[in-house]
Amino acid sequence: MGARSSGEAIVRVDGLSKTYGRVHALEDVGFSIRAGEILGLIGPNGAGKTTLFECVAGVEPADQGHAYFGQVPMTERHRSSKLFYVPDGIAPWPDQPVRWVLEFSLGFFGGRRALVEQIIADLDLNPLMPVPIRALSKGQRKRTLLALGLLAPQPILLIDEPFEGLDLRQSRDAAAALRKHVTPDRTFFLSIHQIADAAKVCDRFVLLSGGRIVAEGTFDTLTALAEQRAGRRLPSDFEEVFLALT
């Protein structure tokens, strides 16, 4: 766990389930998000990561279960004041240039104006400022979305696949930017399917497989759990730990 985190659970998810027809996307999912940490939601494609994010963010209705702020069930008002969710694969306001999108988000969401220049520099967005969103590459669009998230005023930021579409250098820079902006008052919950990326940036992990939570904890906790289940010592490699647990 990072030194920033107080260890206090600010969001608790309990018994969350979601089905699409006969497909169980999420089954009795429960975990917690602690203040000031970078929590990684790890799972293979189709594990239910996006569905879980959308249910927690209130973008998709859950069939069962609840999310709580502390002990209080999460309401619409809580969500809009505490959570900001950045979906994957979107191209919002496609005809507008990046500059407009960032300005608009600052005005519309009441974002962190003091951080604009720094975030633009961290994510190398300066050359993209006059370019319409529709003309951006996948990686450029992802960096713009990351900037949108980092500028959002809410203390808890949920980002679906923050490194999707980024090359090695960009992934490293994005991870550095995320680590730079996480504070005791700023918590990140990231959904990542690339284990190596997750290991680089996250303090704790929630492992999701087939719509179920299979483990939750720090790398050391998960390693111990994996070794216990495997009945042997495992190399200090997150991929091995993940495979042993899922």
Partner: protein, 423 residues
């Protein structure tokens, strides 16, 4: 300002108004005496029928076939691009979001009104006259129509997953109202009453310079219901079942309010020649007949006598007599095979229990029957005092203005905004 569909609509509205206006001016000139018109005909010409209503008809076409796509893009675009998922997190109530979009679209529609204003200026420059209340009536009618289209398009866009589905829904509604009007013309009765609240029929009233409160209220209720429906379906995080139940409640409330609105009697005849009203002396006398009265006209919907009776007399009577009920009775739609029926063609009058039967469908004939039943003497009515405004003018300057200058100006402004956005 970023929507290409808006700029396309704005550019096309000029030529559409141009075609309507230029043809209207030429036809008006011919009816006014150019090329030898029958004496006296030109005296009955009013710009409302000859110029204003035809020029405004361009907006009916645009509202049916251009505006829905602009509105759908404005609402569905955010859903398709994913912007809606971000916007909903701001905490702004969806009804405020959809209301803001509707207002922006309404402002865009007002901008699209510039060509008709230019047509008005051209008409006055030719020496033509305009009667402000009549123009105002058409402006109100077309604004209500546009508002309804925007609201319905917003609801369709929010309800459907894809913009093309929304476009099909809106076009289906438009075509459905046409089918309804067609059925009403054949069947009459309840169909006729329902069809009188379709956008096309509503505009017909405004085209005659008649501002009806019931129509305005019904359209406003429908508009509000469609916007609330759109807001309900924008809430992606609410279970579909709950949204469906809320939608049914909204539709039920709108149906009750719409039904209630249909009982609103006030209406205002804003036409220059007061074509929707009886002469003042007659109106004063008829409005004093407060006893319950009923008129049964045994005429089929397609019978031309019924059309004349309705347009020239009964529609005015409804506006004037406080307690009159009109019913049309027929067994067929065209009446051709009812001519031998014992009562076909008769008009039955019932005033406070006193009954009379007549065959005449003229205004004088109907009113005389009513006066006789009421036991009052018909008033002395002089000749109609409204003379028309004939004008044999050429639509000078209209072609270059609407076909070349307007589209180029719109293109130039669109490019200016596009470049400014990217610099």
């Amino acid at each position: 300002m970023t929507s290409r569909s808006f700029w396309v609509m704005l550019a096309l509205i000029g030529p559409l108004v141009g075609v309507s206006f230029i043809n209207a001016v030429r036809s008006y000139a011919e009816a006014s005496g150019r090329g030898g018109t029958a004496a006296g005909l030109s005296d009955a010409l009013f710009p409302l029928d000859g110029i204003v209503a035809p020029a405004f008809s361009a907006y009916e076409i645009a509202a049916s076939f251009l505006l829905p796509f602009v509105a759908i893009r404005a609402v569905a675009g955010d859903r398709v691009s994913g912007a809606l998922k971000l916007e909903l997190q701001q905490g702004m109530p969806p009804i405020s979001m959809i209301g803001a979009k509707a207002l922006v679209l309404g402002a865009g529609w007002l901008l699209a009104g510039v060509p008709i204003a230019l047509a008005g200026i051209l008409w006055i420059s030719y020496g033509g006259s305009l009667y402000a209340p009549e123009v105002g009536s058409l402006v109100v009618g077309h604004l209500l129509n546009a508002g309804l289209v925007i609201a319905l398009a917003a609801a369709a866009a929010a309800l459907s997953e894809h913009p093309s589905t929304a476009a099909i829904l809106v076009l289906a509604f438009t075509v459905g109202t046409w089918v309804l009007s067609f059925v009403a013309a054949f069947q009459g009765g309840i169909w006729e009453q329902i069809a009188s609240y379709t956008p096309g029929e509503m505009l017909q009233a405004f085209r005659r310079g008649l501002v009806r409160l019931d129509l305005m209220l019904a359209v406003l209720v429908l508009m509000a219901a469609a916007l609330v429906l759109a807001a309900v379906w924008m809430r992606l995080g609410v279970p579909v079942q709950r949204r469906a139940i809320e939608s049914m409640a909204i539709i039920a409330i709108a149906a009750v309010l719409g039904f209630g609105a249909s009982f609103a009697r006030p209406s205002w005849d804003v036409s220059e020649n007061e074509r929707n009203s009886f002469p003042k002396a007659q109106a004063a006398l008829l409005s004093n007949i407060t006893a319950p009265s009923k008129i049964e006209a045994h005429l089929a919907p397609e019978d031309p006598r019924r059309f004349d009776l309705e347009q020239q007399t009964l529609s005015k009577l409804r506006r004037t007599m406080p307690n009159v009920r009109v019913e049309y009775i027929s067994g067929t739609s065209i009446g051709l095979f009812e001519q031998t029926s014992a009562h076909y063609g008769e008009i039955w009058y019932d005033l406070a229990g006193k009954r009379a039967v007549g065959n005449t469908t003229t205004t004088d004939g109907v009113l005389d029957a009513i006066y006789e039943l009421a036991g009052i003497a018909p008033p002395q009515v002089g000749e109609a005092g409204h003379r028309g405004h004939p004008l044999a003018a050429e639509p000078t300057g209209a072609m270059p203005l609407f076909y070349i200058i307007w589209p180029l100006a719109v293109l130039g402004i669109a490019l200016f905004f596009h470049r400014r956005r990217l610099t």
